[in-house]
């Protein structure tokens, strides 16, 4: 195996994972998978098979146990994605308030199709309601909620991200 195919979970993350495990009965390792995958994804943007292998190794679990979790939950990305994830909720309450126009606007503005990425952005059509329906239409950018969206608001949010660079 080539070196670059191996991944070492940073020691800081290992410590955090071990601390997380203290919440559960002795010997239970699986309950740390979701948390650990979040940590790994934050570090690497998306989860590759070498990450799954490394985590299985660390927790002394079968690879399939880790892979099953990584592929079941929608927040885990298994393919390369852009730096910032933008999820526009298009469930009922948001649809009634114009979420589809917001999504289409972002498609045009960022010049990427829904469900795809540029280097900078990953644009997601979020089919799950994100529990901010009274602030519809809404979206999340990297876990942050933005509610009562208008095109002007979207412009400002994107401008702020660009300025942060």
């Amino acid at each position: 195996m080539k070196d670059k195919d191996l991944y070492n979970i940073p020691s800081e993350a290992c410590t955090k994972i071990n601390e997380w495990l203290l919440k559960f009965p002795d010997g239970e390792k699986k309950p740390a998978i979701i948390y650990a995958l979040h940590l790994i994804q934050k570090e690497n943007k998306y989860i590759k098979s070498k990450h799954v292998d490394a985590l299985a190794n660390l927790l002394n679990l079968k690879k399939i146990d880790v892979y099953e979790v990584a592929s079941f939950y929608s927040m885990f990305e298994l393919e390369k994605v852009g730096k910032h994830t933008i999820s526009v909720c298009t469930n009922v309450s948001c649809m009634l308030k114009g979420s589809d126009e917001i999504l289409a606007y972002l498609e045009r503005k960022l010049k990427i199709k829904v469900g795809t990425s540029s280097d900078e952005y990953f644009l997601k059509d979020e089919r799950e309601c994100l529990a901010a329906c009274c602030g519809a239409p809404m979206m999340q950018v990297d876990h942050r909620y933005y509610e009562n969206l208008t095109k002007e608001k979207v412009d400002k949010i994107i401008r702020d991200i660009e300025n942060e660079k």
Binding site: K29, H38, Y73, E128, A131, A132
Partner: protein
Amino acid sequence: MKNNIRINELCFSTLSSNNPNSLETYLSQGGYSTWKKIVNDFTDKQEIIDLVVKSGLRGRGGAGFSTGKKWSFINLESDEIKYLVCNADESEPGTCKDRDILRYNPHAVIEGMLIASYAIGANVSYCYLRGEFMGEVYKNFKQALNEAYSNNFVGNNILGSEINIELHDLIGAGAYIVGEETAMLESIEGKKGFPRYKPPFPAIKGLFNSPTIINNVETLASIPKIISNGPIWFNSIGTKDSPGFKCFSVSGHVNKPGNYEVPLGTPFKDLLELAGGVKNNKKIKAVIPGGSSVPVLPGNIIMNINMDYESIANAGSLLGSGAVIIMDENTNMVKVLHRIARFYYSESCGQCTPCREGTGWMYKIIDKLLSGKGSLKDIETLESLPNMIASSTICAFGDAAAMPVESFIKYYKNEFLNYIKNED
């Protein structure tokens, strides 16, 4: 009329402060006094459970099952390890009350979890937050939890007593089905969220095979005041079968969408007025009164009913999670159902065939109708599908996916027929 409505007195009481989520605010409103008293008096567990039974509190997660009764399924005599789980996965479409309770009154959730844990004899309890809450919601909850630990409301030898209760935050990663209680247990155990067969019920065999009680955020946040003010205070509000306050998330075509905590039994039209009425002075067409999993009701029906479990059930729908989605006269009901069906299709966990296949069929047929390629036969198939899915699956997701379809066709069949090209 609306001036007389009592609003935000229970789970949202801290909203009257500028600093709603702080410990000071919670304490200034009498927070943790119930817990301190229980710890100090070493109150009999059964006594607490009896109070909750008497209050008539019904679970706010959707099913409306008596909370006290659920707790009493735990065998207090047994020395098995027991768990309490707070369901903070809030993901029923239209529902956004738990997020605000967690953000603005996290200490009430924590105190409720402590009291519930004590009453059922659990030394460990978990609050499972949906993954998307990783930002502000988690931060506020975690901060409150740290405060509760540093004040020794939680932990070992709580407030000098012999009581030990650990309380942990957990985080999910995106999956509607994990809101179902047994799927949540699987998820906490670190597996994919496949619901379990019942029986055995979680109160007998739940998390890590131990007796477990799962309650919704709003249910637990209601507990401290129910105990301190007494069951009579609680059930003097609302109706006989629906006592107390309930948070309603009013969304859609209204002027002031928002979470409103009002007495159960409040007339729908008063709730609508609180939410500023229908936007742009339009007429109301339809309302989904309890989240996307419940049957839709036409405006003229719901305008005359009260927001309590039995009135909504009598009208043919369910109060569910309290998510009230308002649709004005211009709403295209086929498009709304299309959106709902798309959701269930993409969120079915795939474990049971009728649900996995049925949700796909329903979505594809509605999609076909919308694109103008549908036929009368498709509508007939659509009418027959809900029956084939409901009650034939491990969990209630199947019913949740089926109920809206039946009701949309029942009340708005013409709109579906309009999508069929006249066949020569």
